[in-house]
């Protein structure tokens, strides 16, 4: 009889503890698509949530409301994000559902103040309804402003930003935007790059560069733009496609980058002066060139190789220099390499890798670029001599 009661209780538990009270019809939920976090003052933050208005999003002809905005921005200020979220739920009239949250934008202000980013972001890692795939970006100026940028082709600004961050066709971007990855980096206190966005006009946002976050100092230390950003991608061995411009015989030439492989090796054991050598192997195709040489000739190609690799080497050396001296932050993943392959050395240096004694800045980083042009293109020569 006791057994039966126990069984009954167990069965009832399975039925009662799971809930009909989770039941909220889809049209009664307000889906958040984007969030912007700005600093209100020293301690308080301003949170802006972008909610979808599905009616105006509709692609189905039958229901096309069309007229109004497809989004609705609510904002409020408070000490913690969770608290503000509850506050916003009062304004929303529907129950807020963050399962489709796509983008979180953080303003430069918050990122630059030591520790604030980490402090406010804890809720996104802790809350069970949060997804690890949410994208994160740093904004130039107020983050809130970007949620009002209405691109012509997207009805919701957050969607626009999300797609922007997924761009794989350029090299001056970074791959590390998912909140799940950032959680790991924050836990390990390592440094990492972040996308850096800037509002250009009321309809355009630009992916301006890569913000560098220092894990030890818990703040953003600077932004790499243009060639520096590209060079960081070479060093990190990004899987993106991109291009590199050089000049040959006075004329411009563009090489399309197909794949990048990089290999780091450590050549000595002295923690005070670690010597790294980075080998970057690039496969590319000629996209555009103004010369008339026969690209099948070895000398011609060799000239091309030399020119491009020199250019890339210069870019990379510049960037390394910047990271080591200006930012004093390892955004290249050398620390991770040491952690994996030389754990003993890493244990020695990890506490003051890119702060304090800063072993990272003290190390010598040598760089070697090798490029192979696999496809000269569909034509051999542009003009006959």
């Amino acid at each position: 009889m006791n057994k039966l009661n126990a069984m009954l209780i167990l069965v009832m538990c399975t039925l009662i503890l799971a809930a009909c009270w989770d039941q909220i019809e889809i049209e009664e939920r307000a889906f958040i698509f984007g969030m912007a976090i700005d600093a209100a003052d020293k301690t308080e933050v301003k949170l802006t949530q972008q909610l979808v208005v599905p009616e105006n999003m509709a692609t189905v002809a039958a229901n096309a409301g069309g007229g109004g905005k497809a989004y609705r921005n609510l904002s409020s200020t408070g000490k913690t994000i969770y608290e503000i979220n509850l506050d916003l739920a009062k304004q929303a009239s529907r129950s807020i559902d963050s399962t489709h949250l796509g983008v979180i934008l953080v303003s430069e202000d918050i990122m630059k103040q030591p520790g604030r980013f980490k402090e406010h972001f804890d809720v996104f890692f802790r809350e069970k309804r949060m997804r690890r795939g949410i994208k994160l970006a740093v904004t130039n100026g107020l983050a809130e402003d970007l949620l009002y940028v209405e691109a012509e082709h997207e009805k919701i600004p957050a969607e626009y930003i999300k797609n922007l961050l997924e761009n794989k066709k350029r090299l001056d971007v970074t791959d590390l935007v998912r909140i799940g990855d950032i959680d790991e980096k924050l836990y390990e206190e390592t440094s990492f790059p972040l996308p850096y966005l800037k509002k250009i006009s009321s309809t355009v946002i630009d992916y301006e560069g890569i913000a560098i976050y220092n894990g030890k100092e818990e703040r953003m230390v600077g932004v790499l733009k243009g060639d520096d950003a590209k060079a960081l991608s070479y060093i990190r061995g990004l899987k993106n496609n991109g291009s590199i411009n050089t000049e040959i015989d006075g004329g411009p030439m563009t090489i399309e980058i197909l794949t990048i492989k990089r290999k780091i090796t450590l050549t000595n054991n002295d923690p005070n002066n670690l010597q790294f050598s980075i080998k970057i192997q690039i496969k590319g195709a000629i996209a555009d060139q103004s010369g008339w040489e026969n690209l099948k000739e070895y000398e011609v190609l060799n000239k091309f190789y030399k020119k491009t690799s020199e250019k890339i080497e210069e870019m990379v050396k510049n960037t390394i220099n910047k990271l080591q001296n200006d930012f004093q932050t390892d955004a290249m993943g050398l620390g991770e390499y040491l952690n994996r392959y030389y754990p003993k050395i890493w244990k020695e240096v990890q506490d003051e890798w890119d702060n304090g004694k800063n072993y990272f800045s003290k190390s010598d980083i040598d760089c070697e670029v090798k490029i192979v042009i696999e496809e000269p293109g569909s034509i051999n020569k542009t003009t006959s001599k």
């Binding site: 809930a19 049209e27 229901n63």
Partner: protein, 708 residues
């Protein structure tokens, strides 16, 4: 008396033959045969229930020969006989039905008793021997009958244990009354000429009729038994000599008649092979007229002798014809059955693109022929059962001896014997009587109208059950995967067949889960849908009046109504209904804003998916389960769906089909048999029969298809 009923508890049915042998035939030299017929009284009508106490004696003694009566009785029997008189009078007053028939006999009985008293002294000495033999059996009958009356009033069966009367007209009268004087009963009377006198006839008749009684219901055996024939010939010889000595040969006219029910019998056979040959018979009969007719006249192969009116009536109702001869207590039962039947047709519910296009029909003989035609194996067996207390339908259990596991066969036969119903309109009734779990939504016997499917399954070591009057054969035992198999799987190459099967399983999952998933995802877990889809569903549902669960149930029930209606409606109107239903479901409901367009996709996809399941019974079962999933999803979300799925899985692994596991080669795990489940491996690799059935001969092919 229209029907003769006997209350018999089921256990006593084996005593049938003992009870029926209440008739005594003894030979008196001049008086001819004295008949005693013990008619089982009717007790089925409610009127008789008042009578129960008075009915412990069942026999009515009728003498249908108006001539002399010479009888022999044991003391027991006399006693019962006298008490019958009083009981009968009560019965007559109360039973209207009985009156009409028995009134005739009342007078006879009275005269009979008088005669009986007179003749008793004379006869008793002669017949002492027989009466001693008979008394125990009579006693036994009395006991059995009284037991019967006491124990069971509700179980009523139609059993007539009346031997054929000597007078042909009595027989005809009896049959007419029993059948309610039907218009379709055809009686063709004839007069034959014979040289034999009455006396000889009796001489000739007696041995055969007696032996018929002794052997119970095996008259054919008696005929084919050489010893019996010999003895008969000997007797005939003796008989023939005697009248010659007397130097008087009487030319005698004998009445006979052919009876059949028009419509059930093939009149061509009766006309050409019986009547014509009889009429063309030029030379006259001598010797045993019945034997001669049997041997020389009737050109029907399936002919046998019968001795009781029960057999006669059953034969008539089965479409066979009866040849009655005046003065003979044996009739000929001729196999002229050939009523109208449907032509062989394509299977309606199991159509294939590639494969035989032949389906069973309602006639069991034809169906058995169809199987035999495909399997020319001498080990193919048809074991016949009879079911239906009133309908007396034939059931055939088909199997291949040497393949089938005898335990399974015994189990099938045992279960078939337990069936106790009036009438089985279809094999589905039989299925429900013998299935393992009547609460399960899954069919535990597979119904098919394809002979090739039956043959395939017989080769798998399974048993098929065919029921007369049903174009659907039953296959047992089956496992869950059998319902998803078609014969076409074996006609197509294995890659195609495998993908077809996978498609079928996939659509089974759609049919089961899709509406439930829709409810769960819409109401509980919108985070699990792709973002764009979430928004577009949310947009279409914006302002919708109904919650998801009501919406889904509404559409699902609408579809079920449509489907049910399209089955009932005639084909011409059916199309119209299909169009109207399609518009209602597909268009108007959406544009009226009652349901969202996404739900229309869900509903129609579910509906179509459920039709990809080759077996209709399985498909219906899954349709029911779908509703359970929807309701569970509406209360618990995805969690509820998983709970129900777990319950169904538990049910399936617990389920048995004819005692073998329903969860096929999965739950008792047979890796080799998996080749013919979700996938269909190349034909050459399917070497073995399903091992979980433990067939005697488990090898289908020995060389793996490679000829030496």
């Amino acid at each position: 008396m229209r029907r003769f009923y006997r209350k018999v508890p089921r256990k006593n049915s084996t005593n049938k033959h003992q009870n029926s042998i209440n008739t005594q035939h003894t030979q008196n030299d001049i008086n001819g045969i004295q008949q005693e017929i013990n008619v089982q009284q009717c007790q089925c009508n409610p009127q008789f229930q008042q009578n129960q106490k008075a009915q412990h004696i069942q026999g009515t003694r009728n003498n249908l020969n108006n001539e002399n009566v010479g009888s022999q009785h044991s003391q027991d029997y006399q006693h019962t006989q006298s008490s019958i008189q009083s009981n009968q009078n009560i019965q007559f007053q109360q039973s209207i039905q009985c009156q009409c028939h028995l009134k005739n006999h009342q007078l006879q009985n009275q005269t009979q008793t008088q005669n009986h008293n007179q003749s008793q002294d004379n006869v008793q000495s002669q017949n002492q021997k027989t009466s001693q033999n008979q008394s125990p059996s009579l006693k036994q009958n009395g006991n059995a009958n009284s037991n019967a009356t006491q124990t069971n009033n509700q179980n009523v069966s139609m059993e007539i244990h009346v031997p054929i009367y000597k007078k042909m007209n009595n027989n005809i009268e009896f049959i007419r009354r029993l059948l309610g004087n039907p218009d379709d009963l055809v009686i063709r009377e004839l007069t034959l000429e014979t040289f034999n006198d009455n006396h000889e006839n009796e001489q000739g008749d007696c041995p055969s009729s007696r032996s018929g009684h002794d052997d119970g219901n095996l008259p054919i055996q008696t005929l084919s038994d050489p010893e019996n024939n010999d003895s008969k010939i000997n007797q005939l010889n003796i008989i023939d000599e005697r009248p010659l000595e007397k130097a008087k040969q009487k030319k005698q006219k004998i009445h006979c008649s052919i009876l059949y029910l028009s419509g059930l019998s093939n009149t061509n056979i009766i006309n050409d092979n019986i009547l014509k040959t009889l009429q063309r018979k030029t030379n006259e009969f001598n010797g045993d007229i019945l034997d001669q007719i049997y041997q020389e006249i009737i050109a029907v192969t399936e002919t046998k002798r019968v001795n009781t009116l029960e057999q006669v009536v059953h034969a008539l109702l089965s479409g066979r014809s009866i040849f009655l001869i005046d003065g003979k207590m044996t009739a000929l039962d001729m196999g002229t059955a050939g009523s109208e039947k449907r032509a062989l047709d394509e299977p309606q519910s199991e159509a294939l693109i590639r494969g035989p296009r032949l389906a069973f029909i309602e006639s069991i003989e034809t169906n058995l022929t169809l199987i035999r035609r495909e399997l020319k194996d001498p080990n193919l067996r048809f074991k016949m059962h009879e079911v239906g207390r009133r309908s007396k339908q034939k059931i055939a259990v088909c199997y291949v001896e040497g393949i089938v596991n005898p335990d399974i066969l015994d189990e099938v036969n045992r279960r078939l014997k337990t069936i106790d119903i009036d009438f089985a309109p279809d094999s589905g009734v039989i299925e429900q009587w013998i299935e393992d779990s009547f609460l399960s939504p899954f069919p535990q016997l597979l119904d098919t109208e394809r002979p090739d499917r039956v043959s395939y399954n017989l080769m798998q070591g399974k048993v098929a059950i065919l029921v007369d009057g049903s174009p659907f054969a039953l296959i047992a035992p089956i496992s869950f995967v059998d319902a998803f198999l078609t014969i076409e799987d074996f006609s197509q190459r294995w890659i195609i067949a495998t993908s077809m099967r996978l498609l079928r399983y996939f659509s089974m999952f759609i049919a089961l889960f899709l509406p439930g998933l829709y409810v769960a995802l819409i109401s509980f877990h919108p985070g699990m849908l792709p973002t764009q889809l979430t928004i577009s569903i949310a947009a279409t549902r914006e302002g919708g009046p109904l919650p998801a669960i009501v919406e889904v149930l509404l559409m699902a029930v609408t579809f079920e109504i449509l489907q049910e209606a399209s089955i009932r409606l005639p084909k011409v109107i059916g199309q119209t209904v299909g169009i109207v239903g399609g518009i209602v479901i597909g268009d108007v409901a959406v544009s009226a804003g009652i349901v969202g367009p996404a739900l229309v996709i869900v509903t129609s996809l579910t509906a179509m998916s459920s039709f990809t399941i080759p077996n209709y019974s399985m498909s219906i079962g899954l349709r029911i389960l779908r509703f359970i999933f929807v309701i569970a999803a509406s209360i618990f979300g995805l969690y509820g769906i998983i709970l129900v799925l777990i319950m169904i899985c538990i049910h399936i692994v617990n389920l048995k089909s004819m005692g073998t596991p329903y969860s096929g080669p999965f739950a008792p795990y047979f890796i080799d048999a998996l080749k013919n489940t979700f996938i269909r491996a190349p034909i050459m690799t399917l070497k073995k029969r399903p091992p979980y059935l433990e067939p005697i001969d488990d090898q289908k092919v020995n060389s793996g298809g490679q000829r030496q």
